[in-house]
């Protein structure tokens, strides 16, 4: 990133656009993971900015079939309205086997998310996947690179990551490996909401408090994702709420709590 006089949000936005364009240029076959959540929705917005309104990269949604139902309805409407190309990835074999979270949350996440993503990467021969993860979400994501190589089994070698500095991203790798691209690694939860506010980006209603005084701070599968107590009904109110909270963003995500290193264990195997 050059030394810049841009305001902080614009500086983040511009760096992310640069990264997205690097990925599009340097890696042959890429897809973008869209979870319907706020981060990947902002990511999609940045992609449209990078390509002047176009979305030349297919969207991938890993569908566990246990998602909060509103998410799927929103997904299908959004894709249709914007004329986007969507690939829905599922681990059908495990679903047919009756996989669900009662068999162990990490087991279920690995089967229906990690493995479903691996199957999708293989089926479409993706060499790169763009994801909207952020360093401030949890410890193992704080260790990530912007261009993060995965071996042919989608595994992440956390102890042997490539050097990454001066925007010289690792875009060359042996055949069969793929690369995860994280254009939003340096954003915080608060940055996301401020940017949504500034750009007036539409997001799913689940983020806003309902009449019972609950809202979702992080979205996932219905059995493993709990809403938080909140009266924030607008983006501005969410920003205000975040300024005073001391609970972590993923507190409502049950899989994180299952093991002290749950996220690291999941992510080393290829979890997003």
């Amino acid at each position: 990133m050059p030394e810049t006089m841009l305001d902080p949000l614009t500086a983040l936005e511009q760096e992310s656009i640069y990264i997205i364009r690097e990925a599009y240029r340097k890696i042959k076959n890429i897809g973008v993971l869209w979870s319907i959540g706020k981060d990947s929705t902002v990511l999609l917005w940045l992609i449209r900015k990078a390509f002047f309104g176009q979305v030349p990269i297919p969207l991938i949604h890993i569908d566990t079939t246990y998602k909060i139902p509103e998410m799927i309805a929103y997904r299908d409407r959004f894709v249709a309205e914007n004329g986007l190309k969507l690939i829905v990835g599922k681990n059908q074999a495990e679903l047919d086997n009756g996989m669900n979270h009662t068999r162990g949350r990490l087991v279920c996440c690995t089967a229906l998310k990690t493995d479903a993503l691996k199957l999708t990467v293989e089926a479409h021969k993706f060499e790169g996947i763009i994801l909207g993860i952020r360093a401030d979400e949890e410890g193992s994501r704080g260790k990530e690179r912007i261009f993060s190589p995965r071996n042919y089994q989608s595994e992440w070698d956390v102890t042997e990551q490539p050097p990454e500095f001066w925007d010289a991203y690792k875009t060359d790798f042996p055949k069969g490996d793929h690369i995860r691209i994280h254009p939003m690694l340096k954003w915080t939860e608060l940055d996301i909401w401020r940017y949504i506010e500034r750009e007036k980006i539409p997001v799913i209603d689940l983020y806003f408090a309902n009449n019972d005084g609950y809202r979702y701070r992080s979205l996932g599968c219905a059995p493993c994702t709990a809403p938080i107590r909140s009266n924030a009904r607008t983006v501005a109110e969410i920003i205000e709420e975040l300024a005073t909270t001391s609970t972590s963003e993923r507190a409502g995500r049950a899989q994180d709590q299952d093991d002290l290193h749950a996220m690291e264990k999941l992510r080393v195997k290829g979890y997003m």
Binding site: E3, M5, D136, G139, G142, E164, L185, K186, S248, H261
Partner: protein
């Protein structure tokens, strides 16, 4: 930039008072130093004492420590990987956010083991300022010095030195003073001058977040005071335009050149020069999405851009747009200070790739000037390769022309990485990028034509125009001159032989010679001069200029 000379060390009152929503730009702070000198613990202390931790984060660390039957280890906040916690070391760099009253600080924790130097560099390269931690009991060690050296290479001038673990030396002033002198002397050799040197204890928090009762002899600011006054690195904002071309898009009828302004600024209507071709055109407009009522008319450093040129020039990734005559001369020789991270040493004869912004060129080592031991600063002039973890001054010869600036003038276009196979093997900052570094092999006495061409940045060439008048020739001569080209018009010499002799003289002097066919005698021995024939007589068009520039590229 740090401002510790001010007597007012409390947060500025002119800032809008706001409890937790920061109003100022976040800064990035890297923490470096020798292994076990307490980097992660210090950061843990900062996070803990400033209430920057969410309940979940702290609970998790507590639980892990209980599981391993250890007292609360704040370092685990940073060393989040299981492998790190089991071994009690930092393997990879971490970014973690902490909150001051009026701003956010991204803390970048860098590993202290030599083996993880590439991770240290990855962390430090993003930083605005650095904290160099030294264990007061152990003193200055190998990585303390190597990290200091790398900070200077990475261009991080704002360094605060923390003498940690003062509790282990009974808070004695004499220990602190001796170390203070030693590190000041070492850093001075690197032309680095720490903004402050503090005696601290990360364990107890002394002089980190609160003034120490144990060290009354120290009256300076605490670390937290200092952090309030660190500013983002932006002191060398340059006016000179450098725009690196990233790609060219054609999603519809528009052909959009995309890139990033690395320095300076650019307006609609500006004339720009494309490097390395040297061709000229004008910016007809900037593209953006979503459509706006107020289209962009100017872009600044740090901004990505989509632009259209008035002329359909050949532009591709790796090209650079500059204002005419203000760009670096495309060159095949670059001298640089490099640091080497790959296990296999940097050696002559091996093919590498240099990546500078969006440029990517094949290169080989032309000469290793000297190898420096980064911890002792001992020089070795005769080494023929650069071992892992060491630094050196090296001249590369590239296979394709490279546009580079000296790092101290324009940092973003003055630094590159060295790729070997799939990997980033080293990094370098440009000292000089110039064909003058090339040895003169012509064997001619004095200065040869090729050396002059290199110095001029273009080839010597006779250009013949079909039907140009003397006035036309002089117009073109002036335009080329303005574009930085050494050109001369021969418009009033009717006899063949003197023209021929003049042409040869000017060519040897590295000039572009402009002739008009209609002004020359028929007997003129044109073919011997290998002229570039221009059919157009429209001499002041950009088209003619561009054709000439294309033909005289080195």
């Amino acid at each position: 930039m740090l401002n510790t000379t001010s007597t007012n060390l409390s947060p500025s009152v002119t800032q809008t008072p706001s409890l937790t929503i920061p109003t100022r730009e976040p800064i990035k702070l890297v923490v470096v130093g020798h292994v076990d000198h307490g980097k992660s613990s210090l950061i843990g202390r900062l996070l803990y004492d400033t209430n920057s931790l969410s309940e979940g984060q702290l609970e998790k660390v507590r639980a892990i420590c209980e599981e391993q039957s250890k007292p609360l280890e704040l370092a685990f906040l940073l060393d989040a990987l299981e492998a790190e916690q089991l071994q009690g070391i930092t393997i990879d760099t971490t970014r973690i956010l902490f909150h001051l009253s009026n701003r956010d600080v991204w803390i970048i924790d860098a590993p202290g083991h030599k083996e993880f130097l590439k991770n240290m560099v990855s962390g430090a390269a993003q930083a605005d300022a650095a904290l160099l931690i030294i264990d007061a009991l152990e003193g200055i060690q190998e990585q303390s010095k190597r990290h200091g050296y790398l900070l200077s290479m990475l261009g991080i001038r704002d360094v605060v030195v923390l003498m940690n673990k003062m509790d282990l030396v009974d808070y004695r002033q004499a220990v602190f003073t001796a170390l203070e002198q030693e590190i000041t002397d070492f850093l001075a050799q690197l032309n680095m001058h720490p903004k402050a040197i503090l005696p601290v204890s990360a364990l107890t928090g002394e002089n980190v977040t609160r003034t120490s009762g144990e060290m009354p002899w120290y009256s300076g600011p605490t670390l937290l005071d200092i952090l309030q006054h660190v500013e983002p690195r932006r002191q060398s904002q340059s006016e000179v335009l450098r725009l690196s071309v990233q790609d060219v898009y054609k999603f519809d009828e528009r052909r959009i050149i995309v890139g990033r302004v690395e320095s300076g600024s650019l307006r609609v209507g500006d004339t720009v020069q494309v490097l390395p071709t040297g061709q000229l055109s004008q910016i007809s407009g900037f593209e953006s999405w979503p459509p706006s009522d107020e289209p962009l008319t100017q872009v600044f450093a740090g901004q990505t851009v989509g632009l259209q040129l008035r002329d359909p020039l050949f532009v591709e990734r790796g090209h650079m747009l500059v204002h005419p005559n203000q760009g670096p001369h495309p060159t095949r020789y670059v001298s640089a200070n490099i640091f080497w991270m790959a296990p296999a040493p940097l050696a002559p004869g091996v093919s590498y790739r240099l990546k500078l912004g969006t440029q990517e060129v094949h290169a080989r080592v032309h000469r290793i000037e000297r190898v420096l031991n980064a911890s002792s600063l001992a020089l070795n002039d005769v080494q023929d390769q650069v071992p892992q973890f060491e630094t050196a001054e090296v001249i590369f010869r590239t296979e394709q022309p490279l546009m580079a600036d000296p790092f101290h003038c324009l940092p973003t276009t003055g630094r590159f990485v060295v790729m070997h196979n799939y990997d980033v093997a080293g990094g370098g900052i440009v000292l000089k990028a110039s064909n003058e570094l090339e040895p003169d092999r012509s064997g001619e006495p004095g200065v040869s034509q090729s050396l002059r061409e290199i110095a001029h940045g273009h080839k010597a060439q006779v250009v013949l125009l079909e039907k140009a008048s003397p006035a036309d020739l002089h117009t073109l001569e002036r335009l080329l001159f303005q574009a930085g080209i050494h050109a001369i018009a021969l418009a009033d010499t009717p006899k063949a032989e003197p023209v021929r002799i003049l042409c040869q003289g000017y060519l040897k002097a590295g000039f572009v010679v402009l002739l008009s066919k209609s002004l020359l005698p028929e007997s003129f021995p044109l073919d011997a001069l290998d002229p570039l024939l221009s059919v157009t007589s429209d001499v002041d068009s950009l088209h003619t200029l561009n054709r000439i520039q294309e033909a005289i590229q080195l």
